[in-house]
Symmetry: C2
Subunit: 197 residues, 2 copies
DNA sequence: GTCTATACGGGGATAGAC
DNA sequence: GTCTATCCCCGTATAGAC
């Protein structure tokens, strides 16, 4: 591992920690640089701009969550479980949840650097969920697998906004589990992995 | 109408237009001032700071939509219809949808000027929807009225993100109507006001 | 009351020395 | 690869012209 790679890693670790604690806007390049042990100009030698660092932080998180949903070997029932698990896990990292929520909406602007990234991300997620739901919902009344996929993704995103605004107002996990149950994606037996998390 | 009032109006019109196009953070006081035909210091004569302008823009839009949901004389069934109507209407004003979506997520930050505004907005909406659903869902299986309220609001918000990213990927109205139907808020008869919109 | 001119501290980004 | 110095823009504040 070269010196540059080590420095880049230090920078991203610092950015990740500071972003998660205080959000993207409240943290300056000078803050990150100081935390990583160099000047803000030094940081910008390794990343073209602040936003590129943010995207790097987020994509590193995707490397953790993506296999739970997009992996080749997750069967439909397990995929639904994993979505609940991700929702649970999100409850522990409000900083990162806020970052993702902010970026996905900002990226709504076609000129935004992350526009294509999020377009592709949602398209792939919808496709993957549609496939899984087609199996689980075969011949059930209610929405088509494609619509159910849109709905579940939208629900998860929208719940985050309400939860970030007022954490006590919403139980994200309960709302997601409840939705999978009315759709018929989950049996009424057990709400997921465990009830305590 | 005094000269001051006309200027204030011009400023808010400009701010509304620019915020809708680019979001709150990306638009500067100098941008707004130039669009309204004065200097940024002139703008700050009419509004104490940028935050006050934002809140003024938000409250002006609420004057249109709020009666459809929060009005004292909307009965439960009509309220559900109105939510579908708002969803339909949103399809025609992507700029305003983007503004609200961006702001509601930005405002997740406790330091954000509109934080309290959006906290209160969601709280009231949840309360109002919970009351209405309590009537419509009496003794039905599925989520409690409170959870159903959280879910429907979350669904509407999340659909907007997907729709703004890729308008052809999602039919917001269809997804909302479908959801009200599985909940049992709407009978299977008619999907709402009309099917063509 | 309405507005311009100007200044301050802090932000992201760039140029060029070392 | 990292620094210092610099640039321009931001929100905000004040002084003063009309």
């Amino acid at each position: 591992m070269t010196k540059g790679e080590r420095t880049r890693r230090r920078i991203i670790d610092s950015a990740s920690e500071l972003f998660a604690k205080s959000g993207y806007l409240a943290v300056s390049l000078r803050d990150i640089a100081a935390h990583a042990g160099l000047t803000h100009a030094g940081v910008l030698h390794h990343f073209p701009n602040k936003e590129a660092m943010l995207l790097r932080v987020l994509s590193r998180r995707d490397e953790v969550n993506a296999p739970l949903v997009l992996g080749p070997d997750v069967d439909p029932r397990k995929l639904v479980d994993n979505l609940v698990t991700i929702t649970e896990r999100n409850t522990g990292t409000p900083g990162l949840v806020a970052l993702y929520a902010k970026l996905s909406v900002e990226a709504t602007d076609p000129e935004h650097p992350a526009h294509a990234y999020f377009q592709g991300r949602y398209r792939i997620l919808r496709e993957r969920l549609t496939e899984a739901f087609a199996v689980l919902l075969a011949d059930r009344p209610g929405p088509s697998p494609a619509v159910a996929a849109q709905q579940l993704l939208a629900l998860m995103d929208g719940l985050q906004t309400q939860w970030l605004l007022d954490p006590d107002s919403v139980d994200m996990r309960a709302a997601v589990v409840s939705f999978t149950r009315i759709l018929g994606l989950t049996g009424p037996e057990c709400p997921g992995p465990t009830d305590q998390s």
